[in-house]
Subunit: 332 residues, 2 copies
């Protein structure tokens, strides 16, 4: 039924080894022989069995990708970056969603190792101790993409979230605001709870602005969350006049919440978001936003992984990509 390397060898009057060499582009084959083999391959429609090859060579040319939720814009962009570079290096991707659930992440890691992936790119909002341990004892290289882990040992690709957030808040302060709110997704997520929030507090402190806990709101980070959060904020004795927001979807929710309540952006409330997905331009006013280069983060993470897999020399395990603030109309 299915044609194997053996069938090709027999038809071409050569050994399996020679067919293998031809298929793998090994140069030690006489052109005439190569031609003959190629013809038989064509004629028999031979398709190498990657599973057998994987077993024999201990390389599968597959990499695992563990991501919180592919249906989320943010992750999808990242995944595309990963995939493009993987394809370029002839790897295939085994994609799985973790829903940001530690148990699933652990079990996914195990499944992928069972499938003998050559490496793994992982995205996780919160790298717990046991995840960290699992990564450190992993038999194949792992690169974290857009995910924070303080450890020296684990490779990762990020931007400098802290500085980026500081710049955003600073911008709001420069525009004369002192009642600046901080609205983000879950604070358990390292990037929110540690980097962005700390940057917010530090920047305010440095400008001698008192920190008001009522102006710090963390929800699930969704559009509806943004809508509701504005209701909360608007009910304050003195509502904020500016908001630093954790992501675009949340920011759009806030913008609509503000507009629905009869106020304007940036007239009554200035907003700076953090993500700059294509959504940032799909709202009026368009969002000023810190640029989070998700595609690039994914691409660079995958590229880094290929270096590990090829045992190339790595100059820096922790890549920090540049960031900037894209000025649009939600801030002055």
């Amino acid at each position: 039924m299915t044609v194997t390397i053996y069938d090709v060898a027999r038809e071409a009057n050569v050994s399996m080894a020679t067919v293998s060499r031809v298929v793998n582009g090994n140069q030690n084959v006489k052109p005439a022989t190569r031609k003959k083999v190629l013809e038989v391959i064509e004629r028999l429609e031979y398709r190498p069995n990657a599973v057998a090859r994987g077993l024999a060579s201990k390389k599968t040319t597959s990499v695992g990708v563990i991501i919180p939720d592919i249906s989320n814009n943010l992750n999808a962009e990242l995944a595309r970056g990963i995939e493009d570079i993987a394809t370029m290096y002839r790897y295939n991707i085994i994609l799985a969603n973790s829903d940001q659930n530690e148990e699933k992440e652990l079990s996914l890691l195990d499944t992928m190792l069972g499938k003998q992936v050559d490496g793994i790119v992982m995205m996780s909002e919160e790298v717990t101790d046991s995840i960290q341990r699992a990564i450190e004892t992993c038999p194949v290289p792992i690169v974290l993409a857009g995910s924070i882990c303080e450890t020296e040992e684990i490779a990762s690709v990020n931007i400098d979230y802290y500085t980026a957030a500081k710049e955003a808040v600073q911008l709001l302060i420069s525009n004369g605001h002192s009642r600046i709110a901080f609205v983000s997704g879950p604070l358990q997520y390292t990037v929110n709870g540690q980097h962005k929030l700390t940057a917010y507090k530090d920047t305010l402190a440095q400008a001698n602005i008192e920190i008001n806990e009522a102006l710090i709101v963390a929800g699930d980070g969704s559009y509806d969350d943004g809508l509701e959060t504005w209701a909360t904020l608007a009910a304050l004795d003195v509502p904020p006049t500016a908001i630093f927001v954790g992501n675009d979807e949340l920011a759009i929710g806030l913008v609509h919440g503000i507009q629905d309540s009869g106020k304007t952006v940036p007239g009554d409330v200035e907003i700076i978001s953090f993500e700059n997905s294509k959504l940032a331009r799909m709202v009026r006013p368009q969002l000023t936003s810190v640029v989070l280069p998700l595609y690039d983060i994914g691409a660079v993470a995958m590229r880094l992984l290929t270096k590990f897999m090829n045992k190339e020399e790595i100059d820096e395990k922790h890549v920090i990509l540049p960031h900037r603030v894209e000025q649009r109309d939600s801030s002055k």
Copy 2:
């Protein structure tokens, strides 16, 4: 180094076959033996090699997913549906982007077959003849998700695009419009060029409304395309008073284009979109939209694929999921 089934067998004083039985949950093992084996597995941290298993059993528990572009909201939602059901049935997913390019689709199909996937879910806006042939001669089952192919033979999951589009246009007609534009992505895409456009024309004809080619605009289907399309439409001697739009992103572009030109939705122009992604609610006015249940389409496609892979009986190879129009504020 890596511990194999043989190591476990030796340590537990049983044969490889017995270990294999334990690992695979075969009932023909004495409880005491099972316990002993399980202990050794635990102690040695044995992890079955799925590649070897795949080679021996000719099943990989992996399915291929070929999708135009995962960074596109539409596909990401579909992919999530596929993944969830795949996980439920203990399959892993090998995901690849085709960019809606026939050559890539063909080569991806080949790669996946080489990797011995047990089945494939494919999404394609235009199933060309050669793709169709490739699918028909494929050694493993393939299910098309949200993709149209007239052939009896090929399994697929869709909604009734024609009827859905008719209902939308009919709604606009009922609201008193006679200058109704049709704006969509590429007409080469079967769903646009054949189903939606035909439905549009048929519905107009049945209402004795003359078809005006100037009111039919197909671009790339993006937000910016929507913005520009309104500029074109607005420049007409008599601009349309209602628009049937192919997808949400495009519709939002149109809405903003209309609003930027000083007109209102639905006051001056009514809009009905086709997709109902979460974007539909993230714009003011919120979009009335035909509900395209992408997650469900993906999930049902994957479920159907599992039936094929298990050689279960299939009652219907062509699943049509129900649709409806979600009324919001962009139409009256």
